[in-house]
């Protein structure tokens, strides 16, 4: 018996400077699933992810999570209510450079949830341990490698106890030998049952870990399904063409 869809996007449309970016996208992520969205640059996959987190507004459609529903246009209050359930990880890490690592982790819990520093650190320190950065609590982002920064960014998002983690090309800015340390953290979270939505070009990770692959092109979801099928037996000619590049 499949669990009820928790994160649900219906009929999302978005136009950017007269250019349609999303043309009626449906999307769902059930609890505990790891979903990977793939597609060429400009296909709308990052925009979809940013819409899910209400960092972008959309022109039509809705996003719902549990009993929260966000419609078209700007609604700061609803956006914030929605975001409270999601953690977001960016391609360029976006750690706060003026705060040390621990400061990055405790900032939002203290400011948004009103926790004391002690309470916030009690949450943050085990998370640093989990992403393998226990020894770096007092280091500043500028003193850390890309892989370390991205793991720190994941820990920072986790500090707000999100129910869903969203990743926007989390390894694209990393040197190849640093990619795995980030994916290892995501694997660990998957094993713990975290719901995760990942936009990435790393097919190896997608093949190994994803419960579902969503292939997008020109603002629509072309095809979705388990990685084994999408990679080896795609149905739509556009998916076939895209996947052929990874055949070798």
């Amino acid at each position: 018996m499949a669990a009820a869809p928790t994160l649900l996007a219906k009929g999302l449309h978005k136009t950017f400077h007269g250019q349609p970016v999303l043309k009626g996208v449906d999307f769902s992520a059930r609890p505990g699933e790891l979903i990977v969205i793939v597609g060429r640059s400009g296909c709308g996959k990052s925009t979809l992810l940013r819409c899910l987190n209400a960092l972008e507004t959309f022109d039509e459609g809705s996003i719902s999570f549990g009993d929260l529903t966000l419609g078209r246009g700007r609604d700061d209050r609803k956006a914030r209510a929605l975001r409270a359930n999601f953690g977001m990880v960016f391609q360029s890490f976006n750690l706060f450079p003026h705060l040390d690592l621990l400061g990055n982790l405790v900032a939002a819990p203290m400011i948004v949830k009103g926790l004391s520093r002690e309470q916030a650190e009690a949450v943050a320190l085990p998370l640093l341990e989990k992403v393998g950065l226990s020894g770096h609590a007092r280091h500043y982002p500028g003193q850390m490698s890309g892989g370390q920064q991205q793991r720190a960014a994941i820990a920072r998002a986790l500090a707000m106890s999100p129910k869903v983690m969203l990743y926007d090309e989390p390894t694209s800015a990393l040197d190849p030998w640093l990619v795995d340390e980030v994916f290892d953290v995501m694997r660990k979270l998957d094993a713990e049952g975290m719901t995760q939505v990942v936009v990435t070009h790393e097919t190896r990770f997608a093949r190994e870990v994803a419960r579902e692959i969503v292939f997008m092109e020109e603002g629509v979801v072309v095809e979705k399904g388990p990685p084994a099928r999408i990679f080896s037996a795609p149905k739509d000619p556009r998916t076939v063409k895209y996947m052929s590049r990874f055949a070798a």
Binding site: M88, F90, N94, L95, F96, A107, V112, H136, Y140, Q143
Partner: protein
């Protein structure tokens, strides 16, 4: 203490309330002590003391009224506006009784009668009367009667000065061909060995005590007191002490008693002080005596600048946020403010606040007006600096903060502004140093700060060079700690630039 008082004052004017500022038992009289001898000037021997024949007259007048005289410094050409807005009750500073001025203020009966006198370089032989000045440059004080006489003579280039010292100095240096000034000034400044006074008398003028219109009681009291001082011979005594009793006065006051009632001791003392050539040790000792007075001015400068800058920072940051994140009417308002304030001279803004606003019932204390004027002006500059600083922080930082559940304001306050602050520290420090020096402009609204003290001292001692260097040094010394502080803060905040430690 002054800081606390100032913030209270700011509060009270924000509420539009202001107490009447007349002081019991005191006759506040306005004058410009950088104007020069023998009217009102700083005693070269004892620089903290304001002396001059008008200082003596003010004291005598106040004594007759059962009051104590208190001197209030203001620029000479702003003495009447200052009287009207209530900075002092009377003006006693060579103010000629003219029809123009009578439209603005009341005048007492004349306390001194004189005429204009020409002073020329010693080598000059072809100037005897005003008509000889045609095609030449003649100097006098800005706004003085002599300025009009020169203009009426026609064909003369009239050069207006702020102080007598500069006026006669320029004549001695050959930058102008003649000086037309009230006779007492010629008596004191024409004695320069490079200059000579001509015997001709031009025009007739009478100095009166200026009093606010409607202050009829004080006017009557002053007139009665002046009459008593004339009759008792006290007035003549003051003028003789200063060496400026003249036949015109004798005729007008029906006091043709021959001989002297007093020795010209003050004149002699002035000449002695001027003529002295000091050795370097004595010269240094003399500068040491000026330091306390300059330091007092410096304290005012620092208080003014710190308060003004604090306000400017708050104002600038608010304006920057309004311009960046406000809805369009707020954005437009902030933009118009910045362009208007940044685009117009600080001097005009200060005059507007101090002399303009009382017309609509807002009367600010000089210190408050000075702080507000500087803060309003620098706020506009700070706004643009902070806006640039905030814009320099990548938008991704805002997105990261929002995605962690922060509100836009929380993100600004905790994430964006702290980072922007570090960026704007050097330009903001720059602005503070500029403000420190621009604060010298507030002397136009009766504030006696460092530059004004310099003006007063230099005018009474002729030492523009030495005291100028001393004053400039003081400005540098005031600025230095703030430069150091900013550098320290910059280093502390620049954490992400530290080298890796692992």
């Amino acid at each position: 203490m002054r800081l606390a008082a100032a913030s209270l004052m700011l509060l009270s004017c924000a509420l539009g309330a202001h107490a009447a500022d007349t002081k019991a038992g005191v006759l506040r009289w306005g004058g410009d002590s950088s104007g020069g001898a023998p009217f009102v000037f700083q005693d070269p021997e004892e620089p903290a003391k304001t002396v001059g024949f008008e200082a003596d007259l003010a004291a005598a007048l106040a004594a007759e009224l059962g009051l104590k005289a208190e001197f209030v410094q203001n620029q000479w050409d702003s003495l009447v506006p200052g009287l009207k807005r209530g900075n002092y009750e009377v003006v006693i500073n060579g103010l000629e009784i003219t029809e123009d001025r009578k439209a603005e203020v009341e005048f007492s009966d004349p306390y001194y009668l004189t005429y204009e006198a020409l002073t020329v370089p010693k080598a000059s032989h072809d100037v005897v009367s005003l008509s000889d000045l045609r095609g030449r440059r003649a100097g006098t004080l800005k706004g003085a009667l002599a300025e009009r006489l020169l203009a009426e003579a026609g064909g003369i280039t009239v050069v207006g000065y702020d102080t007598q010292t500069m006026l006669y100095d320029d004549l001695a240096l050959g930058r102008i061909d003649a000086v037309l000034m009230d006779h007492p000034a010629a008596v004191y400044y024409g004695i320069d060995p490079r200059l000579k006074n001509l015997p001709g008398q031009f025009g007739r003028m009478a100095y009166g005590v200026a009093i606010r219109k409607g202050d009829a009681k004080l006017l009557a009291q002053v007139n009665a007191a002046l009459a008593r001082l004339m009759k008792s011979g006290k007035l003549r005594e003051i003028y003789e002490t200063w060496g400026i009793w003249n036949p015109v006065m004798a005729a007008a006051f029906l006091d043709e008693r021959p001989g002297r009632r007093a020795e010209p001791s003050a004149y002699a003392a002035y000449l002695a002080a001027r003529g002295v050539r000091l050795g370097w040790r004595a010269q240094l000792a003399k500068y040491a005596r000026y330091v306390p007075l300059l330091a007092k001015g410096a304290v005012t400068t620092v208080e003014l600048s710190l308060l003004a800058m604090s306000l400017a920072v708050v104002l600038g940051l608010s304006l920057a946020l309004m311009k960046l994140y406000g809805p369009w009417p707020v954005r437009t308002l902030a933009a118009v403010y910045v362009e208007l304030i940044r685009g117009s001279p600080l001097l005009i803004q200060l005059f507007f606040i101090f002399y303009g606003l009382p017309t609509v019932g807002i009367k600010l204390q000089p210190f408050t007006a000075a702080v507000l004027g500087l803060a309003i002006n620098y706020g506009a500059y700070e706004a643009e600096v902070y806006r640039a600083g905030i814009l320099a922080i990548p938008h991704a930082q805002m997105e990261a903060a929002l995605s962690l559940g922060m509100t836009r304001w929380q993100a600004l306050r905790h994430i964006i502004i702290p980072q922007a602050l570090r960026l704007v520290l050097p330009p903001a420090t720059n602005d503070f140093i500029a403000l420190l020096k621009d604060s010298s402009l507030v002397s136009v609204i009766t504030m006696v700060e460092l530059t004004r003290v310099y003006g007063q001292l230099a005018a009474s001692t002729y030492d523009y060079l030495g005291i100028g260097l001393l004053t400039a040094l003081m400005y540098v010394l005031i600025g230095l700690p703030f430069v150091r502080l900013s550098r320290w803060a910059e280093a502390r905040l620049a954490v992400e630039k530290r080298p890796r430690t692992t």
